[in-house]
Amino acid sequence: MKSYPALFLSIAAIVGLSFVMPSLNDYVLGRIIYIGIMISLAVSLNLINGFTGQFSLGHAGFMAVGAYASAVITTFLNAQGYAMNGVTGAVAFLIALLFGGALAALAGLGVGIPSLRLRGDYLAIVTLGFNEIIRVIIQNVDFKIHGVDYIGGARGFSVLPLTTFTWVFIVAAVTIFCVENLVNSTYGRGFLAVRDDEVAAEAMGVDTTKFKVRAFVVGSFFAGVGGGLFAHSNFDITPLDFTFLTSIDIVVIVILGGMGSTVGVILAAIVLTTLSEVLRSVPEFRMIIYSLLLIVLMITRPQGLLGPATMERLLRRGKREKPLVTPVES
């Protein structure tokens, strides 16, 4: 992290890409923005599922919290006549996103605590349950302030289109940066220890409870921010956009990317979204092909499209000294 030239280059890259991107066809740009959001979501879920070895099927629930919370703020500010463009707009949107993330993190804390006692399938089904509970609650909320609809229950909530490429890029980069640094820090070894062998970790004095809850809180914070971006790129959101099926979409990205490999997860997000676009020409078969591919991949390449080991080899050009253990929960 001490490489300033890299940091400088990165900033230059953001600025450069931000100028180039808007000139693209809106459809392509829209898909890139979507991929960027999926990257933030998948990388943050990877912290919970891949690095810490927990199995959450409720990421869309946290997304929903962030999406609705941030949309309430931007809609409110807009209704108050606050300028939602330029610098003031950017500040407002940033605050909205952070607020959404914070609220989602709070929800993550709520899910993380009961999760301490559970593992594997049970945890999966509990997080799925939380996901559905959050959705049903949102479905029942609908209020008006000065004639403006908020949340809108089943009707849906009209959201300002504020998400731009720059926002998505920055959020994706910050998510990757935080998750990678966290996991690769001395402190972050705890996450991996919980995943690799919870009992041994506990015996070595790792506070496994703390690490699990932390993974949930940090993961859901970024899910909330990603949800905020998702909401503001969709014009309209309904609770049905955040069912557990959406969570499964994100889980699939994480698993295909090779659990615990950030680069793999990013690639999987790109490949899966692109695949879905390619399959547009055969709408009836889109999901059938997708599901078959999922089954076949799980049978032939359970370590993901590019498992962590492969990724590592690619990046280090064969300098690896120890084979990486694929995440296994017992």
Binding site: M1, S3, A6, L7, L9, S10, A13, I14, L17, L24, N25, D26, Y27, V28, G30, R31, I32, Y34, G36, I39, Q139, G152, G153, A154, R155, G156, P161, F169, A173, I176, E180, N184, T186, L192, A193, D196, F230, N234, D236, I237, T238, P239, L240, D241, V263, I266, E277, V278, R280, S281, P283, E284, R286, M287, P308, E312, L315, R320, L324, V325
Partner: protein
Amino acid sequence: MKTRYSLHIQNSMTTRLHPVLRCAAIFALLPLFITSCKTTGGPTNGIPVGEFASLTGGTATFGQSVHNGDVLAVKEINDAGGVLGKPIDLMTEDDQSKTEDAVASVQKLVNSDHVIAVLGEVASSRSMAGAPICENAHVPMITPASTNEDVTKKGDYIFRICFIDPFQGQTMARFAVNSLGKKRAAILTDVKQDYSVGLDDAFKNMFTFLGGVVVSEQSYSTGDKDFRAALTSIKGSNPEVIFVPGYYTEVSLIVRQARELGIDVPILGGDGWDSPELTKGAEQQFNNTYFSNHFSTEDPDTTVQLFIKKYQDTYHTVPDAMAALGYDAARILADAIKRAGTTDSTKLRAAIANTKNFPGVTGTITIDGQRNASKPIVIIKIVNGAYHLAQRFGPNGEPMSSFQP
């Protein structure tokens, strides 16, 4: 190198790219990736018209019907020589019943396929997601069946050819009070559907305005199968009429279960009821039920009868209202292109806005100043599984025929 705490864990980022930079590199490659994968349909000499519909997923049944109607209309128009001397080239995108995918579909149609107009969606939330894209690109969009008021408020280029939720709810309230003479109503709403909630509100307001009392309000969710709990509670409040503004998937069970519980008062609903599957196996139970609809298959009008015949020849089933609306939407668009004499978006928009007394299958359609359709509504009475025209109301809620019990 940092100290290793665990043997088999990859360590340190020293040899890797800065994550932000890595991210940048990936994003820079993305456009290539996507553009290269884009399916290029090859240039056609037809007029490209886009359609987005839920061909798969939770509301696939509506998407498929509208799509059938659209395809039938386009085929008919093309067989008759097309418009402006060219055939219409219908480009269909499936949105999998997802909002996010609806956005992607419309973006693709507008920006990649360069369609001159867009037809779609049934679900209001997805129409609302697609509308801003069409509005910004100045591509006229006609939704065949989104009944939420707010859809056409999204902009000057957004039109609809169906009536709006309040109109349907109000008409049913008028029908209940004025035609059936009922004063005590119970309502059973599908809370998962914006459509159902919208009808519920409108019905409630009009019903109380006309001097009625809503004695019980219950709810359910799409996908529920057991409504006896809610119905038992409704039964206890002794209503004279029950309003169930849901979709036929659930209504077919609700009415059955209501009758099984001994509730024999009239049950009313909206266009969501319309389907040949509604009464299957429960023809008797559906006696004494009424719903508002876009058209009646009993309508002797030749346009309607011809449509029904053609539809049956092509798809071997009786068309539902969604199919009829899809058919009308495509025909109104073709008519507007003809009148505009060009596919220029401003002129096409003006032509659609000027649609007056278009003889549609779903009634005579005039597009009003709010880009909504001003058209009549029919009330269907179900007798032994057959749909009979009970009464017709005009665009302003005035009865156009007397009630035939």
